[in-house]
């Protein structure tokens, strides 16, 4: 790999600062006491504590998954603090009462916490370490019946909805990290779009891990009732530490008849340094249930950060004619590892799914696409189209594709296409012979490669993603 290529991928991480804020941090370690402590801090009802303890018991009987194509030292779950919250006044009457240090932090990160300053009217729920610190546009959304708040708050204000839906898509014992999350989750966003309502603005959650040696275990629950629709965005960053931090989230989406949920992520957790020291372990379970007829769940993700990414945003297509989509760009550099993809489970008749996955690997990184398409016997007339493209920059990185296709209905149509390409010296020479330098050439090639996915992102996110990518890969070619 030439020097220009090298420089292009090795750019500093912009969000690596630590906010100096007094925090309430639980002692390290995980046991029933920790769980009771979390539940107590949040003043939770008995049934939720029972939910957590049940998950914890399941987790104790489980072992870490081994099948993913990543390597890391064993995680010491007793060395993590499971609760960390910035100290602040109990009740905030308005955004002006938020700790100015926190406001500055998010300002620096470009997250609009003041409603008047909000870009294009995006409502934001801001999660700092273990707790939600602010949610904007709550009242305005409430006027049309939309509930958008932290999940801790929803537990108190809408316990019936939480009880009904929490764990209904990702059961507590679903997998090792989901079980852990169910036991210790501290906060997250809750969003409920009632029957027939099209959410008038994009909703978003911004996650920030600040405290070293704390884990972030958030829980997001989005419900779209009959005919409702919502576009949801998620962003995340973390300071630069040379220890690894664990982020194990669970996201559940439920779409009833004719409902539509679009969930977009730009993931930029700290990825570790150029020698692979530090960075976030991003072990996340995301799943959507397209429960009703004609419902649609669409995942779009741009994964650029984290030392290790392990996530498979999935769709269970239960309603007849329901649609599942997965659009993904995963970029790895230096010693990053990503094992990501999706699962499309076709249960209903005439269900359709689309998978577009673009993996870009540079440096010594390793990127894998892992995806399951399952057509069950009840899924008459189901269709899937998958396209998995990998691009290599330099010759020290790896790209892998692991498609699993299970078809148990002979009326199904399943297509899978895959390609691997390399930004070669010859392509760069061609550009340079036309006067175009390596940086511009790479950015043009990468953006062209990711076009199909970027088109799915909401406008501002698409702009951010494009910038993030060229920033991330700057100096990787030459």
């Amino acid at each position: 790999m030439s020097a220009a290529l090298q420089n292009l991928v090795n750019q500093p991480y912009k969000h690596g600062f630590v906010t100096d804020i007094e925090s309430d941090v639980a002692p390290k370690g995980l046991n029933e006491e920790t769980i009771r402590l979390i539940s107590n801090k949040k003043n939770e009802p008995e049934w939720l504590l029972a939910f957590r303890l049940n998950a914890y018991q399941k987790w104790l009987t489980m072992s870490e998954p081994k099948w993913q194509n990543v390597k890391h030292p064993k995680i010491d779950f007793q060395a993590i603090s499971y609760y960390s919250a910035p100290k602040q006044k109990k009740k905030l009457a308005s955004m002006d009462e938020v700790d100015p240090e926190l406001l500055r932090t998010f300002e620096k990160l470009g997250v609009p916490m003041h409603e008047r300053a909000a870009l294009a009217g995006v409502a934001v729920d801001v999660i700092f370490d273990s707790v939600s610190v602010a949610t904007t546009y709550k009242e305005k959304l409430a006027e049309v019946g939309i509930i958008f708040c932290s999940i801790s708050e929803a537990v108190h204000t809408h316990p019936e909805l939480i009880r009904q839906y929490l764990g209904s898509v990702v059961p507590v014992g679903d997998n090792y990290y989901a079980a852990l999350n169910s036991a210790v989750f501290t906060d997250g966003s809750f969003c409920f779009i009632p029957k027939g309502v099209k959410c008038p603005m994009d909703l978003s959650t911004y996650f920030r891990i600040n405290t070293e040696a704390s884990g972030q275990f958030e829980r997001t629950l989005i419900i779209a009732e009959e005919g409702a629709s919502v576009s949801y965005l998620e962003g995340c960053t973390a300071p630069q530490f040379d220890t690894n931090q664990l982020h194990a989230a669970v996201v559940e989406l439920i779409a009833l008849d004719n409902a539509d949920i679009k969930y977009s992520t730009v993931q930029n957790w700290y990825a570790g340094d150029e020698n692979g020291i530090g960075g976030i372990y991003n072990f996340v379970t995301k799943r959507g249930l397209a429960k009703g007829v004609n419902s649609r769940i669409s995942w779009t993700q741009v994964e650029t950060g984290s030392a290790i990414t392990w996530k498979y945003p999935s769709c269970i297509l239960r309603g007849d004619n329901s649609v599942g989509e997965f659009y993904s760009v995963a970029v790895t550099n230096n010693y990053q590892q990503a094992d990501t993809g999706t699962k499309m489970i076709h249960l209903g008749k005439n269900t359709r799914s689309t998978i577009i996955s673009k993996g870009i690997s540079a440096g010594h990184s390793n990127s894998s696409y892992r995806g399951l398409v399952r057509i069950t016997p009840t899924a008459q007339g189901a269709r899937n189209y998958s396209q998995c493209d990998s691009m290599l920059i330099g010759d020290q990185c790896g790209a892998h594709t692991f498609p699993y296709i299970q078809v148990r209905n002979n009326t199904a149509k399943v297509e899978h296409e895959a390609s691997t390409s390399k930004i070669g010296e010859d392509q760069l020479f061609y550009f340079s012979q036309r006067g175009i330098n390596a940086e511009e050439a790479v950015s043009m090639i990468i953006n062209g490669f990711c076009k199909d996915v970027f088109q799915q992102l909401p406008m501002e996110f698409a702009v951010e993603a494009t910038k993030l990518l060229s920033f991330k890969l700057e100096g990787s070619v030459g």
Binding site: Y430, S432, Q433
Partner: protein
């Protein structure tokens, strides 16, 4: 055309170049002046394409000795993109495919880069669209080519036309056409040659690297050079190409030898 006292665009002296330690070019001397068209002919492996790539600055080749003067500049000190911006253009023998990058986007970036270098205004996408469509008529290209990915799925002839389109857009001082005629049917050859003929003028110069005389029926050279084993072994006017066509490249070796014998 040969113009008396015209400016020297390119001056190559004693050029040696190698790839992975193997010497390919073994002492090339060549002077190209404005207005001139030079044809470089020779068998496969004689070093013609290597010469073209070395001029463009391909990093795989190492220049071990000799000099290349391009206008007022020492070409060997310039990076490939600087050579391009200074007005050196290579039409590739095998134009590479760039999936996902729209041709129009690529052409506009190249055009604007060169324009900026020349202190001229850049064109926005709409202005460029009008401009490029006009140039495409020259090569009888359909506007569909603008929206397709660069060279992706283009036929051999379409790729070559796209190269000459770039030559028309960038208005280089020196164009090197590396086997532009290979893989072209007779109609495409006529269109491409016609395009080239409209671009060449008294201020620029062209080097045609070719195997066959066929192209030279359409683009008439002022000089024909024959390369063999990394050297220019014979130089003549356009009639030299015809002799080669009649007698074959073997004729060069014997002819050269007999000439050498006569002088000895």
């Amino acid at each position: 055309m040969i113009i008396e006292n015209s400016k020297t665009i390119l001056s190559v002296q004693g050029l040696h170049a190698s790839i992975n330690g193997t010497e390919i070019l073994k002492g090339i001397d060549l002077v190209v002046k404005s207005g001139e068209i030079h044809a470089i002919m020779g068998l496969n492996g004689s070093g013609k394409s290597t010469f073209a790539k070395v001029l463009a600055g391909h990093s795989a080749y190492e220049v071990t000795s000799g000099s290349i003067q391009f206008g007022d500049e020492n070409l060997l000190t310039l990076a490939p993109e600087e050579r391009a911006r200074a007005g050196l253009f290579l039409a590739f023998q095998y134009p590479i495919e760039i999936p996902g990058v729209a041709n129009t986007q690529f052409l506009r970036l190249a055009y604007n880069t060169v324009q900026t270098q020349r202190g001229k205004e850049e064109l926005d996408p709409l202005e460029f669209d009008d401009f490029v469509r006009e140039k495409m008529k020259l090569l009888e290209m359909s506007p569909d080519f603008l929206d397709r990915s660069v060279n992706e799925g283009f036929s051999g002839g379409e790729k070559k036309r796209n190269e000459i389109l770039q030559m028309a857009l960038l208005e280089p001082k020196l164009s090197i056409l590396d086997e532009t005629d290979s893989g072209l049917d007779i109609d495409a050859l006529r269109i491409v040659a016609n395009g080239v003929n409209q671009i060449t003028n008294t201020d620029n110069a062209t080097i045609l690297v070719t195997h066959y005389q066929r192209l030279l029926d359409y683009i008439v050279p002022d000089y024909v050079h024959v390369m063999e084993a990394g050297r220019i072994v014979m130089t003549g006017g356009k009639e030299l190409a015809l002799e080669l066509e009649t007698h074959g490249y073997d004729w060069i070796s014997t002819h050269k030898q007999s000439k050498a014998g006569a002088t000895a």
